[in-house]
Amino acid sequence: MLKRILLLFTILFLTFLLPAEARVYIDINAPTFVQIPIVLPKWKPVDNTPPTLSAKAYEILKNDLSLSGFFRVIDYSRLPTQLQSKEGIPSTLFLQEWMPAGGEILLAGETFLESNGLRLRLKFHLIDLVEQKHLVGKEYEGPLQSLRTMVHRIADEVILQITGERGVHNTKIAYAAFQGENKEIFIADFDGADIKQITQNRSINLSPTWTPDNKKIAFTSYLKRNPDVYLIDVDGKNLQRFAYYAGLNASPSWSPDGKQIALMLGMEGKSDIYLIDVKGNNPKKLTKSHGNEASPTWSPDGQRIAFVSDRSGSPQIYVMSKDGSDVRRLSYEGSYNTNPSWSPKGDQIAFCGRVGGRFEIFSIGTDGTGLQRLTSNSGNNESPCWSPDGRYIAFSSNRMGWSKIFIMNANGFNQRPLTQSKGGESSPSWSKRFE
């Protein structure tokens, strides 16, 4: 919800670390919210900094803010002519000057590359044009190759100021994607940049999952002619066969404390949910029905596990306690509900449900109320996965003719593809924040 903003105030930018009161400008959980118009004048390359570097930082930031879904970005090219040429952080700011821009928030910044060409400094200020208030000003310093990370931090900081919670621009999304006939594991930044292929084994590599320390990816691979769970470092090194019981080994989900892993094992001839320890040992079977059990996901308090079971005759979402007791069916709408993902806040479970022959993303309260359909009439949508702040859901969709990873706000707004690649992507998994 947009707050009322008052105007006309001049601020002197003398200190960067002025404590800013985090105010909630928008409530992202509202069924509809209006994006805040944010004004982004050109960034200024200080001293001998190449203008291209400054322009790059500007583009990353602009994209971050757009992707966040909270903002309507007014970039410099859309400003009135007299403002288009303005760049950097003005020593004094005449707020009235920015009124014609049509924005409520002003974000200005500068790029400074040190003379040795290795160290980079980024400086920004955030001003509430309506309330005539300086919100925050910060400077970041790091190696040149950290440009993206540094810009993402700025975006996260901006979002913290506006929404009361840091953004997730410094998170990554792992997914599987076709490479010819084979599926390999890839990682991309939240903004779809910096795509890295971390497996190159030409096998079938499926459903990647981040380990809780953000350092490894677990996935299912057929390298040894059996679907086994492997671990690999995010840089593609140290491939390790992790769970390789007879039959199916798939869909691992780490408990919040990182000490247990729930997964699908087929050692008894059908898929059941088991718990194993961090070394992949001591399997303990949790499910006891005659059905096929799939896709376990932990509750953030580590007490319960949601999963899929077709014990009723069709796949539905169930919840049980972590010892396998107290099983309750959660989904009753539709005849095909799979892929549950427990929200980080613990109050919702997103899942994939079939409606009229198409697969759509839904969310439902953990008490079974508040069912919401988040996608509609746009291809098949599968494998929902929450961002660590619970404000986004990544999923796969073939609405463009081929399967791609999409990201949307948790209420279904602002759906956009993660990457610009051709497609064949599936099974997104969202990392925690990289600090």
Partner: protein, 328 residues
């Protein structure tokens, strides 16, 4: 004959002599009985008183005795006469008896002769009958022999025919056997060919990025499933029976049953579904007698579609249990 008649005449003469000499002997025999009657009288004489009486009496008695004696003498003579007569009668009777006896004997002899003659006639008749019978028998025997001969001839003929038939049959049989053998060989060759066919049908299948090199055969057929189902349909059970029969013929072959799904539904749930399809198929093959250690199963979920299409036709093809050969 003359001797026999002479002896008969002599015999008759002797008999006449005997008959004339016999009566004298009979007279002598009567005397002792008269003497006994005279000795009884003295014993009846009594004492004195009665001497007179007795003397009178005695005189009387002597008289009487004398009369009596005379009477007895007369009686005796009469008696002798009677005896003589009796004897004569007896002799007469004896003679008559003898004659009768002779007559009877003659008659008997006659009868005997007649009987003998009769017997002879009977004998002759019997002989004749026997002869006739013999002849008849001989005739019969001859007839029988002839008949038998005929029969034997017939039988021989039949035997010959039978033999010929047997020979023919044998020949036919030999041909048939030959044909059968040829057929058998053909079948064997066909089987060998088939085995070769199986061998020939094996195609190396290399899955990129998956360890090992496996084989596929078009002769080991896929089965298919309904959407979101893993039960084996009746028609597919027949296919599995054929597959099992082929596997039984190649007992060293080790297989892996792959469970596959169509593209609909999510990756993980389809992995579970494929797991169940593969395992159900495996269990069915085991129930048909394939050793469990020859079969493994694996789920590929929806990751290896046969038909890349996005329609029911493609999906139906992709919901399958596919069998590969891990080792021969």
């Amino acid at each position: 004959m003359i001797k026999k008649s002479l002896s008969i005449i002599i015999l008759i003469m002797c008999l006449g002599l005997i008959l004339t000499g016999c009566p004298k002997k009979t007279v002598i025999k009567e005397e002792p009985s008269v003497k006994k009657a005279e000795e009884l009288a003295p014993e009846r004489e009594r004492p004195a008183k009665l001497e007179a009486e007795r003397a009178a009496k005695e005189t009387k008695e002597v008289e009487l005795a004398r009369i009596k004696e005379e009477e007895s003498k007369r009686a005796l003579a009469e008696k002798e006469l009677a005896a003589e007569r009796e004897r004569a009668a007896r002799l007469e009777a004896e003679r008559k008896e003898k004659e009768a006896r002779e007559l009877a004997r003659l008659k008997e002899e006659e009868a005997k002769r007649a009987l003998a003659e009769k017997e002879l006639a009977a004998e002759r008749e019997r002989v004749a009958r026997l002869e006739a019978e013999r002849k008849e028998r001989e005739t019969k025997e001859l007839a029988r022999l002839k008949e038998e001969e005929a029969k034997r001839a017939l039988a021989e003929k039949a035997l010959q025919a039978e033999k010929e038939r047997a020979a023919k049959l044998e020949a036919e049989w030999a041909i048939k056997e030959k044909e059968l053998k040829a057929k058998e060989e053909e079948a064997k060759r066909a089987l060998a060919e088939k085995e070769k066919e199986f061998e020939k049908s094996l195609v190396v299948k290399k899955y990129p990025g998956i360890e090992g090199e496996v084989l596929e055969s078009k002769l080991i057929k896929d089965i298919h499933f309904n959407f979101d189902k893993y039960d084996i349909r009746p028609g597919d059970a027949e296919i599995l029976k054929e597959n099992a029969a082929r596997l039984t013929k190649h007992p060293s072959v080790k297989i892996q049953v792959e469970g596959h799904c169509d593209e609909r539904g999510t990756i993980e749930y389809n992995l579970a579904l494929g797991e169940r399809r593969a395992n159900n198929t495996k269990q069915y093959l085991i129930s048909l007698g394939i050793a469990p250690d020859r079969i493994s199963s694996i789920s590929y979920g929806r990751e290896r579609p046969l038909d890349p299409g996005h329609n029911e036709e493609a999906w139906a093809k992709n919901r399958r249990a596919h069998t590969i050969i891990l080792s021969k």
